[in-house]
């Protein structure tokens, strides 16, 4: 389309499970962002690092917001920062930390955009303590052809404000956001608590609910299933624990990682990695933790993601209520023992919020299970069994992570799916904002 800075570009989701040749607009000024014909299907594209295809596909024009990455206003006393939606979370953290503030809720990838964090309502290092991204957003500005540009907050255009979090970009293009910053801990120490299984991990997670950083790492192999360590990052003022607090820009994980020409995460590779991590991590103790490392753990994971090879990976993330978690974990252990899927890693996190719409929140324990070669029948069957098991136990999927979940399973798994979909549709007349994710789960 001449005059709109649009070109055909090959795009892939971060997990490499969906690829498509898409029309991508690269506006560098507001008038170009607003210039698309009013009836042109579209979707905002920020950092392009969503595991699933949330910013492209579905015959939409992807509107790249990379040029809209500016810091607009900063109140150093109150800790309020207004930014354009294309600003990367890593850059925002760098600025905030340099001025004595930070965003406690941040995804692991530093190139995720603020708009993307809002659209996915991401969680951070301890969602039980901090909530999800919406908890630190004071106001947003959205633009949509039929509605124009509006500001939404908890007291203004409230329905639109609430629907936009975990709205996957379907309520309009978020152009600006005002963020509520928090004071960072002076320093962190990382306490390691080895656990034998998920039941023990759940107990340790619940006891450490107020830690700034809290998550578990677990072995997913049959015979070792659930064994791991809960990592508890605690605020500390001890001078010997102080480390550089600013994440370095040069260390940022790239948006797209070139895969290794072979899959490192086969059965032998996973065994070696898990054994090594077990020896390194699964012993009690504590050590200083740099806030930078706590905020962006994926910066050290380039080889890990490349190791999935061309076939990529899938992350299935399910949040299971406390009352059902041990039964779910037991059933999952049985499934793994029986079907022997390849599982590269499992991470556990504690949640203590209330779900709203499609948000990934609730009161319970979440397991993020990353598996290689998801196209293989054994792996595909495991993902199906996992979804079934999770749904039976009241589990809730993280839609921004899981790229194999179909519309029927999503509908069964999300309580109030139809109401949440209707809420999005009310702010998206004609389904103008769309994506592959929206198409796949029939939003």
């Amino acid at each position: 389309m001449r005059g709109y800075a649009i070109a055909d570009v090959d795009l892939a989701s971060f997990d490499r499970q969906f690829r498509a040749r898409c029309r991508v607009q690269w506006p560098d000024r507001y008038r170009l962002l607003d210039a698309l014909p009013a009836d042109a299907p579209r979707i905002a594209r920020g950092g392009g690092v969503s595991y699933v295809a949330a910013s492209f596909g579905g015959d939409a024009i992807s509107q790249g917001l990379g040029a809209f990455d500016r810091l607009l206003a900063f109140d150093a006393d109150a800790g309020r920062l207004t930014v354009e939606a294309g600003a990367r979370i890593g850059d925002v953290q760098r600025f905030a930390l340099a001025h004595g503030w930070y965003l406690p809720i941040a995804p692991g990838h530093p190139r995720a955009s603020i708009g993307g964090c809002i659209a996915a309502d991401v969680h951070g290092k301890n969602p039980a303590r901090d909530g999800t991204f919406r908890a630190q957003v004071e106001a947003i500005e959205l633009t949509a052809p039929m509605r124009g540009t509006v500001v939404a907050s908890a007291s203004r255009n409230t329905e639109l404000f609430n629907a936009t979090f975990a709205g996957f970009g379907l309520t309009g293009i978020v152009t600006r956001a005002t963020l509520r910053l928090a004071r960072p801990p002076a320093a962190l120490v990382l306490r390691r608590v080895p656990v034998r299984d998920f039941a023990e991990a759940a107990r340790v997670l619940r006891e450490a609910a107020n830690a700034p950083v809290l998550y578990g790492w677990h072995d997913g192999r049959p015979g070792h299933f659930g064994r791991g360590v809960v990592r508890i990052g605690l605020a500390s003022d001890a001078p010997e624990t102080k480390r550089a607090m600013l994440p370095r820009a040069g260390r940022d994980l790239p948006a797209s990682i070139t895969p290794l020409p072979f899959a490192l995460w086969n059965r032998a590779g996973i065994a070696v990695a898990n054994t090594w991590l077990g020896l390194r991590w699964c012993r009690p103790g504590q050590s200083p933790l740099a806030l930078a490392d706590a905020l962006f753990p994926l910066n050290d994971a380039r080889t890990y993601f490349a190791g999935y090879g061309n076939n990529g990976m899938v992350e299935a993330q399910w949040l299971v209520p406390h009352a059902r978690f041990e039964a779910f974990a037991g059933g999952l252990a049985d499934t793994v023992a029986r079907d022997r899927p390849l599982i590269a890693l499992i991470a556990s996190k504690l949640f203590a919020g209330a779900p709203d719409g499609f948000s990934f929140d609730g009161a319970g324990i979440a397991l993020a299970i990353q598996i290689p070669a998801p196209a293989e029948s054994r792996q595909r069957a495991f993902l199906g069994a996992l979804a079934e098991l999770a749904i039976v136990h009241g589990g809730r999927p993280n839609l921004i992570k899981e790229s194999t979940l179909d519309a029927a399973a999503a509908r069964r798994a999300i309580a109030g799916f139809d109401a949440a979909r209707a809420r999005l549709a009310a702010h998206n007349p004609g389904g103008l904002h769309t994506s592959e994710l929206a198409r796949r789960i029939a939003l």
């Binding site: 001449r2 560098d28 900063f74």
Partner: protein, 243 residues
């Protein structure tokens, strides 16, 4: 010292503004879109702690842009650098434009730089400053495309020569960059005969050279040789070339 960037809201202009702010220059930014300009000014001020003033100006319609800009400089530190990465081209610039569009192209690509240089010359002479002009390889030799755009850019070469002829480097330095393709939204997705250069890379080079004496540079450098060859081609051969 203050640097003035005209055409600052996007592409090379934005990259130049960012690089200047990184090096702690106060800035006056001029472009047509007030929303983009205000956002950029706020960003550079917050990130780098420099004074940044924004002036929204439609160079295609403004009769006396130099006077507006000179007025906007009041109260800022003395002007030491004037950068003019301003320009606009059209796909239909092939003798099919009507007279108003020809006027608009000339206004933005030639009249505005001339008028701004005229208006600010006394201030730049006071600080022994630098004028940085940006030409285009499209203007190396006239073609059936980019007719008005190339004419205007060729006019900038004449402006560069006039300034150099009139003022010694000790009084005023004049830089002219003859640019190839830039990786901006204008070339996004286009099939180009050679790779486009990142404006951030060019901006760093331009600002690195701000203290240099008057000179003309081709970016990328290989265009200097290409320009030499194209200019040396006999007319009978050149006229048969297309593209």
């Amino acid at each position: 010292m203050t640097a003035l960037v005209v055409g600052a809201s996007s592409g090379l202009g934005r990259a130049l503004a960012s690089e200047l702010a990184r090096r702690k220059h106060d800035l006056l930014l001029v472009a047509s879109g007030p929303r983009d300009l205000e956002a950029l000014a706020a960003d550079l001020n917050l990130r780098h702690g420099v004074a940044v003033r924004a002036l929204a100006l439609d160079l295609g319609r403004e009769a006396d842009p130099g006077a507006r800009i000179a007025a906007a400089l009041e109260g800022l530190s003395p002007l030491s650098a004037l950068l003019l990465p301003v320009g606009v081209s059209r796909e239909d610039d092939d003798f099919s434009l009507d007279v108003s569009r020809i006027g608009q192209l000339l206004a933005i690509n030639l009249h505005a730089p001339l008028a701004i240089v005229h208006a600010l010359l006394p201030k730049l002479l006071e600080t022994r400053g630098v004028v940085v002009l940006f030409g285009s390889i499209a203007a190396i030799r006239g073609r059936g495309r980019n007719v008005v755009y190339a004419s205007a850019k060729r006019g900038l070469v004449s402006l560069y020569e006039s300034l150099r002829q009139r003022h010694r480097s000790s009084e005023l330095r004049v830089h002219l960059y003859q640019l190839g393709f830039l990786a901006t939204n204008l070339t996004h997705g286009m099939q180009l005969p050679m790779p486009a250069t990142d404006p951030v890379v060019i901006a760093k080079t331009v600002i690195d050279r701000l203290a240099h004496g008057s000179a003309c540079w081709y970016v990328p450098r290989k265009f200097a040789l290409i320009a030499l060859v194209v200019r040396a081609l006999p007319w009978t051969i050149y006229r048969r070339m297309r593209g």
